[in-house]
Amino acid sequence: MIKIWKRNKIRAADEFNSLSLIIKRSLTSMLILAHLRGDAHVVSCIGSVQILCNLLKNNFNPNVDNLIISKGHAALALYSTLFEFKAISKDQLNNFRKENSDTGIHVSNKHGSYSRLSTGSLGHGIGFGSGIALAKKVKNLPGNVYVLVGDGELNEGSNFEALQFASSKKLDNLIVLVDHNEVQSVATYQEVSSDSSLHKKFESFGFKSQELGKYKNMANEVIDVKTPSISPKAFVCFTSRFPYIPSMQGKVLWHYRKPDMKDLNHAFIELNSKESAPDYCEWLETQ
């Protein structure tokens, strides 16, 4: 059973957190496009938006860092976040799932350092990221390589080939961000992948691992990449716990389902979208 906290207790304090606001705005635009176009993998995006907003606000420097969205089906999470950080245009965001756009259902490598790899097939990001991280080490270049993976995606054995390599080569510039949203494609994470700790798995592979979001809003968490370490790092982010959209978080149904207007209105109330993202709500009305 996935724990989602009681919303009312934490809501008031949360409203004033600017990162929380950015997350809500990104989630609102994500939901609108999911409603208009479909194929968004909503529940996957809800978790990834929280991680990506935190990363882009606090850590990511596009001039030296690299980001790989290994869970390529969370592409809309990337686009809605990039739009919030002015890294893509409104047209690009609005072109989600349109023919010939660079913002397709699965993420493409057409967004510079924000997306170094076209993905969609799972289990490739950590290995590819290890190669980039190794290259940076050899060339003595600054910056980190961030790889966003899904918890279900970690079923793929290829990840563990890469973890062994990254650990043995001490790639301390490799940062794995796990969207631990606790749901997979057709069942919960616990049902498919057991309730063994991802944090301990990463630690056992020689990563410096930390759990985030388990007891705090992801907006209040620090993805601490600055503390020196000789190991690659993993952040296991519990993204279904803090109630951004509790009607959807932790629900397997929302992996594939396209939200209708009723779903959207309900989610907007949960997100307080009319206050946090009135411009997006107005934009939706013109569609």
């Binding site: 790899l117 490739h124 290995g127 590819f128 990221g129 980039i132 050899v138 290829s158 062994q164 390599f165």
Partner: protein
């Protein structure tokens, strides 16, 4: 051929620090000089072929030219998706070298038979595919692979392969032998015997399956009534199918006979030579197949 590969790689790693070599914990004793002399360009990624290709793609994305090495039966079959997604679809050039192609490891059992690696590579677009039969052709293939903008798959043999002529095509020859890879050497031995015995035949080595030497092939096929295509692959997408398609597309009137392994698993532990005899690479079968109706 592995010795030549090691020599080439040593030169290449010396050429530029951006040339790197990755092995999936294989090549014992063969690549010691690379490991000792170029520790920042030699990576043993462990027994993790798929991981090796993923890491190589990341290095390639950062401007390195990675050469990845494993046994042929493990390389393309285990990394097909990594090659397709990370190298081909994401345009990251990698040079893959699979050793012990065909039935080189016949006695090691079916897990080590590599009758599909060339087919898997050919199935993908935007990748060069080579099966050199000897050290000289291997070096040619490696040079092309190095200068190409695209990825390459190179199937090689083991040790001690000769450098036979790649073409021998007397004017009066109306029968031709076409082959690729290590088995070309076996075909060439038979070819020399046939020639000594007075048969008017030619021989052509298609060591580059993609790009195909179309001019060379067209010239070779002129005046041929019959061509025997001899391969050490299953034959669904391989040398024989390339020749069938080439002949068909160019309206060349020539009869083609394929000699190669059936599309089946070789369950029993037989020496490679025994298997070759079983699928018809014998003097008498070649003579029989050469007969024109």
């Amino acid at each position: 051929m592995r010795k030549e590969l090691a020599t080439f790689l040593e030169e290449t790693l010396q050429d530029s620090p951006k040339n790197v070599f990755l092995t999936a914990d294989l090549g014992y004793g063969v690549f010691d000089k690379l490991r000792i002399n170029y520790p920042k360009q030699y990576y043993n990624v462990g027994i993790a072929e798929a991981g090796m290709v993923s890491i190589a793609a990341g290095l390639s994305a950062e401007g390195f030219t990675p050469y990845v090495y494993s046994i042929a039966s493990f390389l393309m079959p285990k990394t097909y998706e990594q090659v397709r997604l990370l190298s081909i679809q994401n345009h990251n050039k990698i040079i893959l070298v699979g050793a012990g192609g065909g039935l080189s490891y016949s006695m090691s059992g079916p897990s080590h038979h590599s009758l599909d690696d060339l087919s898997l590579a050919l199935l993908l677009p935007n990748i060069n595919v080579f099966a050199p039969s000897g050290p000289k052709l291997l070096r040619d293939a490696l040079k092309i692979a190095k200068s190409s903008f695209e990825s390459s798959y190179i199937q090689i043999g083991k040790f001690g392969e000769p450098n036979y002529s790649t073409i021998d095509n007397p004017d009066e020859a109306t029968i031709g032998l076409i082959s690729t890879g290590t088995i070309f050497n076996d075909v060439y031995t038979l070819f020399e015997k046939l020639k000594t015995d007075g048969y008017k035949i030619g021989i052509f080595n298609v060591y580059s399956l993609r790009p195909l030497n179309e001019n060379g092939l067209t010239n070779f096929l002129q005046n041929k009534k019959k061509v025997l295509v001899i391969e050490e692959s299953w034959g669904l997408l391989s040398l024989s199918s390339l020749i069938y398609r080439f002949v068909s597309n160019n309206n060349i009137k020539v009869e083609i006979i394929r000699i190669g392994p059936d599309h089946k698993i070789f369950e029993t532990n037989l020496e490679r030579e025994t298997n070759l005899i079983e699928f018809g690479l014998t003097y008498s079968n070649i003579v029989k197949s050469m007969k024109v109706d």
